[in-house]
């Protein structure tokens, strides 16, 4: 069947199977060239393999929950949305969440996802206690943090290339309500946005939407959103009796691929300007429900279709702190000069990061998306170069088009990752279209 990543640019005819038992899975692994696919939310070709894509959605059971520690054990195919549905009413929320709740727990481990609290809490991996991994021989090993087992570290952010993630034990955090106190701050330019991040290191959540088409003095103007879980006493009086229940959002649906002319320099510029003005108006503090705060795009089913049938590519890089301002400035100048803005450009301060192969590094990350057009490829190449020149690296969960050469120059850890794959006999057993493209 034809499958692709969320960006829709990597459609490929793949053999997809849906095992239900570990024995079936082991038989698939023996065939080689296998990649596990969770919710299909990686943007590029990370979760597809022409000969051997394994859809993990039938491994979707919750196994155990510890009320004392907040540790939840689930099979890898469980969706984050199901975790929230089951545990928010009991006063628990994911300790780290990406920008969509429609991801699988296995995918969260494979990408070692980060959230708006990375500057304080690190990535999802910081809350993972153990991982059950099926190796190339079909045997299952429990990888534990701190047991000197290098595979634990390689599996967090290892893009499913260390084996099939079967079960994960990870910790949730206690919350008193389903509401977030959101504070909106306006930054007139990039430097101010960064100053706001630096001054608000104590905020639990922080993220900025950045107008990537603004030029000159306004380059990098941003709306910075800070957030704190609201205490029970802070919830609006009408919701206080049931603090975990929030009003259902009206679901919108993009039923069709938008025609390619719908998205052009003018519409994107207008959208960006409008969004900025709205943010300026909304400056201040208010209560927002968890779904609207963490997952604004989840309310629009199939939002990826606004980019048209050809799809879109995501670009996300991270810069070390010392190089961040120069690197980000250069990237924004390049994008705005090309006039190829993105609806959603997101800037975020990263804190310290542990792990062998995880994407984040202390500094700043910028994420953008571009509809796939002929001239996009050249722009992305230029952005790759700027990133590498400033010591930055790339997020493989977003990548759909990088070259192996770029990846190796940006990320010196890849050589060790490749050597480890060879040493452990993983290279033949586990591969994705992405890993083939990047020669991992």
């Amino acid at each position: 069947m034809k499958i692709s990543g969320w960006g829709g640019t990597t459609r490929q005819e793949c053999r997809v199977t849906r095992p239900r038992h570990e024995a079936e899975l082991a038989a698939r692994i023996a065939e080689g060239g296998l990649i596990a696919r969770g919710a299909g939310r990686a943007y590029g070709d990370a979760a597809q393999s022409a000969l051997n894509t394994v859809d993990m959605r039938r491994f979707d059971r919750m196994i155990a929950f510890d009320e004392e520690t907040g540790q939840l054990v689930t099979e890898a195919g469980v969706r984050l949305s199901d975790v929230i549905a089951a545990f928010l009413p009991r006063g628990w929320f994911p300790a780290v969440t990406p920008g969509t709740k429609h991801v699988s727990i296995g995918g969260m481990v494979a990408s070692d996802v980060h959230g708006k609290n990375h500057h304080r809490d690190g990535s999802f991996g910081a809350f993972v206690d153990w991982i059950d991994l099926m190796g190339p021989d079909g045997r299952v090993r429990r990888l534990t943090r701190g047991d000197n087992d290098e595979m634990f570290g390689w599996t967090l952010g290892g893009m499913g290339l260390t084996g099939v993630i079967l079960r994960v034990a990870f910790r949730l955090r206690r919350v008193e309500s389903g509401w977030i106190r959101q504070k909106t701050l306006v930054a007139a330019d990039l430097r101010q946005a960064m100053e706001i991040f630096e001054a608000n290191q104590d905020a639990t959540y922080s993220v900025a939407w950045i107008d990537c088409l603004a030029r000159g003095a306004a380059a990098g103007r941003s709306i910075v959103l800070l957030g704190e879980h609201a205490a029970a006493s802070e919830v609006a009086p009408e919701h206080r009796a049931r603090p975990f229940e929030v009003p259902l959002r009206k679901k919108k649906r993009i039923p069709l691929h938008a025609p390619s002319w719908a998205l052009n320099r003018l519409t994107v510029r207008a959208f960006n300007a409008l969004y900025y003005r709205q943010g300026v108006k909304a400056a201040g503090e208010r209560l927002v429900d968890w779904d609207a705060y963490f997952y604004p795009l989840d309310a629009i089913e199939g939002w990826n279709r606004i980019y048209g049938r050809r799809g879109f590519v995501q670009f996300q890089c991270a810069f070390p702190l010392a190089e961040a301002e120069a690197g980000l400035g250069a990237l924004l100048a390049e994008i705005s000069a090309a006039g190829q803005g993105s609806f959603l450009a997101v800037l975020k301060r990263f804190g310290p990061q542990q792990g062998r192969i995880s994407f984040p590094m202390e500094g700043y990350t910028l994420a953008l998306d571009f509809p796939l057009q002929a001239r996009t490829a050249a722009l992305l190449e230029r952005m790759d170069r700027i990133t590498v020149a400033s010591g930055g690296r790339f997020y493989l969960a977003k990548d759909a088009r990088m070259t192996p050469h770029t990846l190796r120059r940006a990320d010196k850890r890849m050589a060790d990752f490749i050597a480890m794959r060879e040493r452990q006999g993983l290279t033949e057993a586990f591969s994705s279209t992405q890993s083939e493209r990047l020669a991992l």
Binding site: T17, R18, I63, A86
Partner: protein, 250 residues
Amino acid sequence: MSDATTTKGAVLVLGGKSDIGRAIARAFAGAGHAVMLAGRGTAAMEADRADIELRHRVPVSVHEFDVLETAGHAAFADALPALPEIVVSVVGYMGDQAESEADPEAAAQVMRTNYEGPAAILALFANRFEARGSGVIIGISSVAGDRGRATNYVYGSAKAGFTAFLSGLRNRLARTGVQVITVLPGFVATAMTEGMDLPGKLTAEPEEVAQAVLRAVRKGRDVIYVKPVWWLVMAVIRNIPEGIFKGLKI
């Protein structure tokens, strides 16, 4: 989501290990119903028991059940913690058409698993529900029963029998407070159809079947096609004159 204090009447899922059975169990548990999972080999259902209890905080029990052991059906029903409010039969077995053509034993297996067994156990619950004056009986049949086709008529004929049985049961129980629902899924992405090249737009996920069943109970429906387009597809197929139909390859 509900807490144990407000648990609704139990739903008994016959075929609780199947993809559709698991999805139905979860959907009803999510709506606050207690769950009884029944199938061959209770050990294989323990993981689902834990999953549903953890997700939905409703009581879940697992029960050994073999649809073909009709002599044991009454004892099975007697051993349940209580007479359920809702019983769903998800039991089904496609078999291999070529094998069913060549081997009468293989054909009988398909016929008994899709018709005789499910009809027998639902008949038993029908009588008990009738005596109580309430209950919901749900049979997962198949559009394959709407018209026999060369590619799967042994399976289809058994499903046709099951569909007719449910229809008659509904007619009989219409004034008793017992609801009988016939579910006609088209293609569903399950273990049974794994490896088949199914058209995406006509193929439902087990979770869609489960939601359709839950809606049918709430709305008091009689017969549902999971994806509405299947009603149209089958209306066309049923109305092709036999003289033409017999020459078609569909």
